[in-house]
Symmetry: C2
Subunit: 281 residues, 2 copies
Amino acid sequence: MSDAAHAFVPGHVTGFFTVARGEDPIETGSRGGGIALSDGVAVTVRPGDDTRVTLNGEAIEVEAVERVLNALRTTATVTAETPLPLGSGFGVSGGLALGTALAANAAFDRRLSYNELVTVAHGAEVQSGSGLGDVVGQARGGVPLRLEPGGPQYNYLDAIPARSRVEYVTLGELSTEDVVGGDTDALTEAGERALSSVVEEPTLATFTRASRRFSREADLLTPAVKEVIDDVAAAGGDAAMAMLGETVFALGTGLTDAGYDASVCSVYPAGATVEDGPPTA
Amino acid sequence: MSDAAHAFVPGHVTGFFTVARGEDPIETGSRGGGIALSDGVAVTVRPGDDTRVTLNGEAIEVEAVERVLNALRTTATVTAETPLPLGSGFGVSGGLALGTALAANAAFDRRLSYNELVTVAHGAEVQSGSGLGDVVGQARGGVPLRLEPGGPQYNYLDAIPARSRVEYVTLGELSTEDVVGGDTDALTEAGERALSSVVEEPTLATFTRASRRFSREADLLTPAVKEVIDDVAAAGGDAAMAMLGETVFALGTGLTDAGYDASVCSVYPAGATVEDGPPTA
């Protein structure tokens, strides 16, 4: 058993998605499209007799993290830092699960492959009800398109070959479990239409347009989010809603041009990785 | 048509590989394992009436680049910079092909997806005889394991979840075409044994051990390369031969500890990407 190990997982905003339930958690997931963000989750795992998780210095309980550590047959102290808000559509829970898998594999010398660790984290998220597609998007990086649902053994990923500055503002939280746990047929139909249009023309402009349409068609657009998106459009920019949170993301300087005090990051081209030294969020 | 566009492609040393010929170029390729390097190829594509390619300021002819531009139905001025030597097992030709595909897609607004561009570059490399597995490894980044051969529609990639400093020295060139064009049955058997051992234990230590064994079993180890690898081992380090070049790579400080004046870089976690601005190699 070695000392502490570190991992960095990019944040991930989903623009549109489907719900696809399979026979087991690693066949379950979602099709859809998202953007991996340079603002992410930095995770440190240290051997410990009990599992304790802190995020930005505060103790939290994250079912997906406990499931990951159980799957790796260990307990640990997990210390995570992120500039991203929880429950607002940035894949923080997926980042905690995947970062814990990567760092625990290193700290406890478990000798699992990258895809095996992604499978463990994806399955833990699905079983916890906290996410369907963030983990595999965060494992790829860039602007991932999830053409098939599920973990690495089942899914098929492509991507939009583009980089950009990304801005975001968060107005409030939405529960992934509440939306994904109900009737998702209409949502899935809207998600399939959005994915088709982006596959046909894989550009960032088409991605945000498809995301805006999805949020309306899936009946997830809140009045507050709509107002911000309209303000960005009035200022000549391009914005959409992040799934699932009361969050608006914009390409380039869309939000600041419209007068919002937005957080600024960029498309993160790499997937989640273990780090040599202490990570920075 | 827009202005110049830029892409960065990590270098890629292959430790072991098989030769797998399929019905067409995108089903042809190799299984194997490699390391994506932070030393890579920075490519700029500018619209031009003829196709001209320069590498580090010198005009060169690269069949795979011309095939990529033909596939994208265009001609262009391609300007590339790299600290890596050509013909020495670093995937420079794959980097030129993939970087040209990504940058030309942006410069000429071709609206192809990431996988489509990787498919174009992989097919161009295979048809040119200059490589079988570099392009798909360079598109993934990290420490890719190619479990199935071919382009993105056919292959299946995993990876070793690890980062490391990487050192290298080059003693001379080897022709990929000469080795891969001949009888490759023994080489492929050795490559399959190496891949099996790394899949069983996906760590960097197992990777370099399997790579050393492969270079002996495939009868590719030259006396000069063997001497350097032995020197690194005598100094307590871990080195192997890069396929296909008279090149030695070592993890950590293996080569400098053994007294060699090695180039230093690191595992590059991201796959090839378009860049926002002018690239740096």
